[in-house]
Subunit: 547 residues, 2 copies
């Protein structure tokens, strides 16, 4: 990954073939895209703190993993300092680096992880497990004033599908394996895990488990908490090994204690996940709704129906407008224009259109059957099916949004996301409250700001609402400005029955709201678990709960 | 509930109209049902330990709940001493009562529960929450040598559906509500929770949550862990309040810490559960398979298919034979006989038939659609659909088995159950291993014994195997004999990839195998949670983990 942004070098958002984009941005946040970008500083311009590890300790760590895999070189320490939130990117680009890890270790296997953990705890060092580095909740950053040696434990070499139990639909996979590598190895043998978070291309299985991730197709495949059946986690005195059983009544679930633990209980080395046979047919279809309420009501009715789609997603009018604005220029016949003319004739407010995607999988006849059930519900709520075309496009572009975020950051705009989950009956209320809170925050910081939203991840009793917000920051106070907006949104979540994060974890970014979310006594139980498991705070301190 | 057995007075198993039953029992365990039963002793014959609570403490507790709801009377203390395992029944009938609770409290509301908990901890008393008393894992029994005052906290007065969020499919229900009352109150308004454990008629929502229960229709509705969205639990310093969100990434799940905690973390007072609209059609259909392997393979293929039945269940040849033997006498035309003749002609081994039930719910057309998918799979595995008749019978009798267990106990036979869950690929292995282990145990205790099994609760990657075992005990050593058999079965579970309990909890009955199941380090994490939450072991000590 680039040290200063998302993804691999050479890939970037390209506005040139998207004529509606610049006017859209100008209108939304007042940013003029014709003004040249200010690219991030060169790596060589950064001021970096030196490693504090002494030769003896480093030597003993290098003896475990090999000298080539115990790195104190600056660039490696830098990319292991932060995740990829807008806060992280602003700080790293500004050389705001009070504490970098002292050493980055790349163990080859679980045995080496166990040796590192044992030695680190004996030396009272700090261990921060590192997967793909895509986290946006501040879960990877060492404490500013950390006086102990900080080890970033990169699981990147533990990256294989170990075995597939084809008779059960279970795969043992090493925790450091990234999304594409997992699906590639599974697909080769006819299987899929079905877990596709936005970060898929750069995040790892261990990271997904440690942050309780959820993928785009969770309606069918479940959240990572459902997909995860077995686990192995290295602790100072040995390995927690949870065998892959489909369900159990064996006391408070230790599997669920590890899920979401963000490195505070130990280092996850291997996960046994549910895998499914690659379906005969996989389709994502586009739908339009005349307004947000109709879209939500349709998604709710689908979740209660006999159909089981893989994806249910509906963007509000603003996000739909954004999607239309990032469309490529059409030459010749433009079906979208024809459609819009048709809808206008039928009395739709074109500014209020809500774009929706619904995914189907299974046999050909099953997909046809479910599409029919869904079509009936969509129609009942005044919606309209627009076929596979938009779905194919959505599928192609689904992992690209972070590149756009970096494009905007190069031009002085800060953009990030916050998401929640709540009961169906409260989604409209939350949507309105978050918009009001964000707009009030923009007023407070004196900048025109943008916010847009979609519903995704439907469950029987509720769904996830996902918000994207952006504004032109003033440089010096960028992070303070961001905090005003982000805090307003998070507070609106908990004030209106939503949780503080549906799938990005807690880290440091969301921990201030945890007591309001799961109650003071709920946090006390969690703290008791952390403190009993890690009395000297050697494992990723200060994350999930502030120490 | 009867103090000496299951269910209400006046209801009992009746063998008179089941001509095949007595010969079946004679052959299975050597018990002659023509020998008269020895009914349990009279209550007045029991020797009961006195309460140890002093007047001052009792007076303060009575001041909270009212004198009528602070009971030190013997019969009430007796029925709050044990659950309903065979061990419990043998002990209670033998006056084996080393420690009964000193007082049974019936709080009226959560506020009274909080006052009790606060006072109990201040007085260093023991609090054992009590729901329906149906537990078979030893989760309710005070420690033999307990020197402190033991309070049985009966939630029976907290028994209402508080409210239904019809816009979300969520119901707030008090923890002490029993199955029938919950479904009655929900059904009146068109909803169902869909949770039907074997104990349904006498168990409570709080008990289901505290033991991670699972109901017969879990294939559709989920285990109680899935159904439970929000929770309230009283702790010494306040209330843990988990709001009903459909999913969250907020660190190790506190909801999941409370699920399965068996009273060790506090007293569950209220649960917000998912509820579903009562379906248009609900059907359970019968199927026959020529052998066990075919039945299992069909259930597995159904779990991977596009169909989503509510119930998938298949009994092995022994349990199927048992079912046939408990059938009522037919006069005139007997379709079962006709069917058997037909199958014999087609070459089936009638002794090897596996009886299966599969449930369907939804619209009329949806049930027809899913039945077609299932029929194709059943046929592929050599099975045969036998229609709704057997399903109706199964549905009527599904809660009656415990009465049969008491009938046998009155006649000197000990019967109980053990169940596990494991990956699909290991189910046959476990089935064989458990049979071998049980038979070896019977040989060891020198008694002919019986064991039978069914698969139920299918998941994507595995299923539950449920074993029922019985033997004629020798009176004096009944419990020692039971231990030999039970231990052999539990050891076979963990030796072959199964968990120690799928839905009955851990209590004391299963805790000896917990380290083998979730690893020593997994148990250490759990112990850290318990000890940090309850440093003086005031809450149901010694359960889940031995103190």
């Amino acid at each position: 990954m680039k040290w200063s942004g998302w993804g691999v070098e050479g890939v970037a958002f390209n506005p040139d073939n998207k004529p509606a984009f610049a006017p859209f941005v100008k209108k939304a946040v007042g940013l003029d895209l014709s003004v040249p970008a200010v690219p991030p500083a060169e790596f060589s311009d950064l001021t970096l703190p030196s490693t504090t590890i002494d030769d003896d300790f480093l030597g003993r760590l290098a003896a475990i993993v090999g000298a080539d895999n115990a790195i104190t070189e600056n660039k490696s320490r830098l990319v292991h300092t932060y995740g990829k939130s807008i806060r992280d990117l602003i700080r790293i680009r500004a050389s705001d680096l009070p504490r970098m890890p002292d050493v980055v270790l790349y163990p080859a296997d679980e045995g080496q992880v166990a040796q590192i953990v044992e030695l680190a705890v004996a030396q009272n060092a700090v261990v921060i497990p590192f997967g793909g580095g895509s986290n946006i909740a501040g879960s990877l950053t060492p404490n500013e004033g950390e006086a102990r040696v900080v080890i970033s434990l990169d699981l990147g070499r533990l990256n294989d599908v170990v075995s597939i139990d084809e008779g059960s639909g279970l795969a043992r996979i090493q925790a450091g394996a990234q999304g594409p590598r997992i699906e590639e190895q599974l697909n080769e043998r006819g299987w899929t895990m079905g877990h596709f978070p936005d970060s898929f291309t750069h995040s790892t299985l261990g990271g997904w488990v440690a942050t309780r991730s959820s993928g785009m197709q969770s309606d069918k495949y479940g959240d990572i908490a459902d997909i995860t059946r077995g686990l192995r986690m290295v602790r100072p005195n040995g390995i927690v090994s949870i065998r892959p059983v489909p369900s159990a009544s064996t006391g408070p679930s230790v599997r669920e204690m590890i899920l979401g633990s963000e490195g505070r209980l130990g280092v996850i080395t291997e996960v046994t996940v549910q895998v499914h046979r690659v379906p005969e047919v996989r389709e994502i279809n586009g739908y339009l709704f005349p307004n947000w309420e109709a879209g939500i009501a349709a998604m709710h009715e689908i979740s209660e129906s006999d159909a089981h789609p893989t994806v249910t997603r509906v963007s509000d009018a603003r996000e739909s407008g954004f999607s239309f604005a990032t469309g490529k220029e059409k030459t010749g016949f433009d079906p979208q224009k024809v459609l819009m003319a048709f809808l206008e004739k039928r009395g739709w407010d074109l500014e209020g259109i809500n774009l929706s995607f619904i995914g189907f999988e299974g046999s050909k006849s099953h997909v046809a059957y479910e599409k029919k059930i869904v079509a009936r519900i969509v129609k009942k709520h005044g919606g309209l099916g627009v076929g596979k075309g938009p779905g194919v496009l959505y599928d192609q572009k689904k992992f690209d949004t972070p590149y756009l975020r970096d494009f905007l950051l190069d031009r002085g705009a800060a953009a990030d996301v916050s998401e929640t989950a709540a009961p169906w009956s409260r989604l409209n209320e939350i949507h309105d409250a978050v918009y009001a809170a964000a707009n009030e925050a923009y007023e407070q910081i004196g900048t025109p700001g943008w916010i847009m939203s979609h519903l995704s991840h439907s469950y029987h009793s509720g769904a996830c609402l996902y918000f994207t917000f952006a504004f032109v920051h003033d440089g010096e106070n960028a992070i303070a400005q961001y905090d005003v907006v982000k805090r307003a949104i998070q507070q609106a979540f908990v004030d209106h029955g939503g949780t503080i994060s549906h799938h990005h974890g807690v880290g440091r970014e969301h921990s201030p709201w945890l007591e309001q979310d799961i109650s003071t006594e709920g946090v006390a139980l969690m703290r008791g678990l952390f403190e009993s498991a890690d009395p000297k705070s050697n494992f990723n301190p200060d994350k999930v709960l502030a120490d």
